[in-house]
Symmetry: C2
Subunit: 222 residues, 2 copies
């Protein structure tokens, strides 16, 4: 089979792209410093559209909000659907609309952080834009990065997106109740994750029943 | 609720991005000219990971290959999974690996076109990288663009990605057999599509049974 591989920066100006990533990393460091100063723990939640990022955040909020002060940054291209769903849990939500951009970046997070009273916050959840490719290259200054994968995304989802799993601290395998309907097994998805990074932690969840949520809270020491 | 909107080019250099999109458009025009000269009809197939783009192409090939000379360009970050699946149908496949880039572009397609004997080709299917955001801005020089959505992607998938539907000539609503398991209705997805563009054609498919495939062939005059 004939095969073509894109050279880096082939139609992009590679120097500018490197510069952009460097500027993003510097801003991410600044965000982390600000969060640390205010003792806020930030969790970046990445995953494809429909993987269940919003449902996961809602489940975490329900279990944490009595003991912790919580905030959420909800990233999306143009809508406020996810932010509205999270607001039902009565926590502070800042909506970030990226327009046509396919990921959050550290600059947008810096702007969003100004909208919170960080001194009164313990945990900040950041829901990234639904995309498994672009968010990987843009750290935001969070302390941990989660990738949410859903069994509905088919059998090759992990194998096709190695970069995002290299950046993750935890993989949440969601919608495990649909394994039979989707003819996908949790074991094979887990194996695919460990083929990319053998030590990467995976936790199975069902956001309809709350299965697995306590394990996430314990693993991340929330 | 507090809300932040990204300004265009906020951390990107906006002039360069415009220049990049312009260069891509010029290359796309060249690709189209080359295809037209050789009487090849090219179809760009976009959609999220796991939506069923590869299965759709395989279904189309099975029905068309006796009457038409077919070729496929299979885009993916790093793997050859989709290309290998398509090769089972004994048509010419060129694999394009984009590395970290989240979409095909007209330059990569220009390189891939050189690998085909275009004089002996009637139809070229181009499977874009699994992503609902970035491919929208990068025309490839194809004659028609299809977006494949799957009922497994949840109820907000269309509403959250207006740009890609504005670029499409046809929306394929796939995996309709899973409507009940996913608690998502075909009617509401169709309504969401028509809220973005009332005249946009939608066709429902089940790639396991072949339902809807003939309707696509007819609609696109393949």
């Amino acid at each position: 089979m004939k095969s073509i591989k894109a050279k880096e920066g082939e139609i992009f100006d590679i120097e500018l792209e490197e510069d952009l990533l460097k500027r993003n990393e510097e801003l991410a460091e600044k965000n982390k410093h600000l969060l640390d100063k205010n003792k806020v723990k930030a969790i970046d939640i990445m995953g494809s559209v429909g993987s269940g990022k919003t449902s996961l955040i809602k489940n975490l909020i329900v279990r944490l909000k009595k003991k912790r002060c919580l905030g959420v940054i909800a990233g999306d291209l143009t809508t406020t659907i996810d932010a509205e769903r999270i607001k039902e849990e009565k926590v502070e939500v800042v909506q970030v609309n990226t327009g046509k951009e396919c990921h959050l970046d550290a600059n947008l997070i810096a702007r969003a952080l100004k909208e919170f009273d960080l001194r009164n916050l313990d945990i900040l959840f950041i829901e990234n834009v639904g995309n498994l490719i672009c968010p990987a290259e843009f750290p935001l200054g969070s302390h941990k990065r989660i990738v949410v994968v859903s069994l509905t995304e088919g059998p090759w989802m992990v194998t096709k997106h190695p970069y995002i799993f290299r950046e993750a601290d935890l993989v949440v395998i969601n919608k495990i109740d649909l394994a039979r309907a989707m003819k996908v097994s949790v074991e094979s998805i887990t194996k695919d994750v460990h083929r990319i990074r053998p030590e990467l932690k995976t936790i199975c969840t069902n956001c309809l029943t709350g299965e697995g949520i306590e394990e996430i809270i314990k693993f991340l020491s929330l």
